[in-house]
Symmetry: C2
Subunit: 420 residues, 2 copies
């Protein structure tokens, strides 16, 4: 298992910690790097000198207090502060995102910023394993040709975000709404083709990774991000890192049970949270309540579009109580699922996001009521539930972030002789 193997390889954690800190926080003074990483001033000076010699880190003058542009005169104590920052061009990775009928390819720099992105619309569901790999290679080749940063040795990794259930250890897509077939191996063929490190995670885990690398979102504690949409995904961050579990596909929150003999879920089992909360479940129930225009669920019943779902939400908000009840009930079920999650793991924050959070206002009172009904009062100090609006899809950002994390580790593996 790659998880265990990775843990067994001795690394130089201090260097990795410095890079990670700079990627999250942006430019920082040596003294702050020391305070935050727990390294002594002498160690920080020596390690950052090494990182600068390797072209990974550079000095940059402070923006000053209030941005004075005259060489820092007037800044506190009259001296411009020397900050260290990552060198954006030190390495580049390719980010790939696979969702139904859409493949996105992005250029991420060493700071984790997306510099460019291209989108390809195609019928993904008809692709078999070979077809999918061929398409991905075609798009990546084209992207490499258009972005000189990526050649000849510029690309240090590929990070992939996949809608659905993905095994990060084996590199297989177990199941995705984007694909008709199941269990498709994708990291190995890409690794063979490009000779670079290839990481894959489901979109919820990528979002969790992106949050841990975003100073405005990440408060350093354990958290879960629940992604509502076609299905229900979850990313778990425990002790600062995304938790994949020993089998590479943990955090299948959407397939925890609300009721033993509940409605049929897309996974083939009954009573999963997803079978009450997922877009397809809402649309299925809505079709029994109101007359939907046929193209709304016949054209693509497996994957209702955003327009279709927004129309249902609008009708619910405009006074259709039957439809509003569907969203309220989804909120109730979600609240019970969250109560189980809190009982088991007690994270500090639970972030609710994804396109399905479009109806959060309708669901929220019932989420709170379920939490009240389900939780032992003594344990109710619990986490903050936070609605994270879905205005920016950060899964691609996270795919790039996970690839850079692996690249950092690979750079600082101790020579094998030192372990013998």
């Amino acid at each position: 298992m790659s998880r265990r193997a990775a843990a067994d390889i001795p690394r130089q954690p201090s260097q990795i910690a410095i890079l990670r800190y700079l990627r999250i926080h942006g430019p920082a003074a040596r003294i702050d790097i020391g305070t935050q990483t727990g390294l002594s001033p002498a160690t920080v000076t020596s390690l950052t000198a090494d990182l600068m010699a390797q072209g990974l880190v550079q000095e940059t003058s402070s923006a000053g207090n209030g941005g004075s542009g005259n060489g820092g005169h007037g800044a506190t104590r009259g001296r411009p502060k020397v900050l260290l920052d990552l060198v954006a061009s030190a390495a580049y990775v390719v980010g790939v995102k696979l969702t139904i009928n859409l493949i996105e390819i992005a250029l991420g720099n060493f700071k984790g910023e997306i510099e460019r992105c291209t989108r390809h619309r195609l019928n993904t569901r008809d692709l078999d394993e070979q077809g999918l790999i061929a398409k991905l290679c075609e798009f990546i080749d084209q992207f490499v040709a258009e972005n000189p940063e990526l050649s000849p040795q510029g690309m240090v990794g590929i990070g992939i975000a996949v809608q659905g259930v993905a095994d990060s250890n084996s590199g297989e897509i177990m199941w995705s709404p984007a694909l008709r077939l199941r269990q498709i191996a994708i990291t190995k063929p890409l690794r063979d083709r490009y000779g670079t490190n290839v990481q894959m995670s489901n979109d919820a885990n990528c979002i969790a990774t992106a949050i841990t690398q975003d100073n405005s979102l990440y408060g350093n504690g354990d958290f879960a991000v629940i992604m509502l949409g076609y299905g229900i995904g979850m990313g778990l961050v425990l002790n600062g890192a995304v938790y994949n579990g020993p089998f590479g596909a943990a955090a299948e929150f959407g397939h925890t049970k609300y009721q033993t003999d509940g409605p049929l879920c897309n996974c083939g089992r009954r009573g999963c949270l997803e079978a009450y909360i997922g877009d397809y479940a809402i649309l299925r129930d809505a079709s029994a309540l109101i007359d939907l225009p046929p193209e709304m669920y016949i054209a693509n019943p497996l994957h209702p579009g955003e327009d279709q779902m927004m129309d249902l939400v609008r009708q619910a908000r405009d006074g259709n109580e039957d439809l509003a009840d569907l969203f309220r009930h989804a909120g109730k079920v979600l609240g019970y699922g969250i109560a189980n999650l809190i009982a088991l793991l007690g994270p500090e924050r639970i972030l609710i996001t994804g396109s399905g959070a479009r109806a959060y206002d309708l669901m929220e009172p019932e989420i709170q009521r379920s939490l009240h009904d389900a939780q032992v009062p003594e344990l109710r100090r619990g986490p903050k539930i936070i609605h994270l609006p879905w205005d920016k899809d950060i899964a691609l950002q996270g795919a790039i972030g996970q690839s850079l994390l692996r690249h950092d580790e690979n750079m600082f593996v101790l020579p094998s002789g030192s372990t013998k």
Copy 2:
């Protein structure tokens, strides 16, 4: 929060890793210590020399291959292997275990072995906070007086295992069947009184700690230990350490829900797993099915004794199908709970133990059936379910183990000047 504070204090992880390795594995050669901890031979030599100078580690000659007693002649390559081992007398901790009507006090040495143990039977449920602390101090004082190893500066910590729900961060017992009152602070008064480090966890977490320190049980992966008995407890080990969660009381598996409006649970909510599987739940249902001798549930309905529960199991095995159905149904509910746990965390092993595992043979087929019904086929590669017989209570062992882990960390905190 102590969890975060502990993570922020810089420590010398290599020394701690060596002590931890020796505590788990027993005597080991320097080369094996290096291989297992990822430290270079030079580093192992230097650090173990320091640890020997501090009196924590000593050299011991190998038992040889096959135990030859003639100075090692005949062992591989004709040379006795020099092994390193912890010095048992380097430090002593007091282990305390609080269960209903029983307080146990034990002497644990630096290797984590229990050297002596005394048991005090008393009516714990009538104790208030002051009364409980007074009793604990009385028993500890007496124990210290009887065990010269613990005085004057011999005792480096107290580790407490509590039946029930305990907040390891705040040091409060949230709720315990051993006490009528709730939210009782116990670590602070003991810390003030004895001037030593005091750790507390619920019994399931202590058992999980003990397993991580037992070479025959711990296979290095992530696991959950589910404790069946009066209530249902769980200890979670993620990335090698017991996971307490940010609020110090995670892993309340027994209070995840099987059914929204299910039977009343002791926690005051409805439909918790415990309300189907706990001893009190089984006895409550049994009393509706068969005529129980009144003393069996009237004398102490809150806490049926082992004899009472064994009698029910015996009748079920002897052909009382109504009673057998109770245990089968408990197995069904447990299986669904485990399926949720697998979906969320996907641990490698799930150990089922505790006095309630007395009926494991009756429950097991239904556990498996539930897992089959509830799990998405693609994720069914999942964990091994292992019945860990309840012949030896290892909670006290774990209480001592957690105290030693903290002591190791406290010894190797870096001087505060080095972080500034």
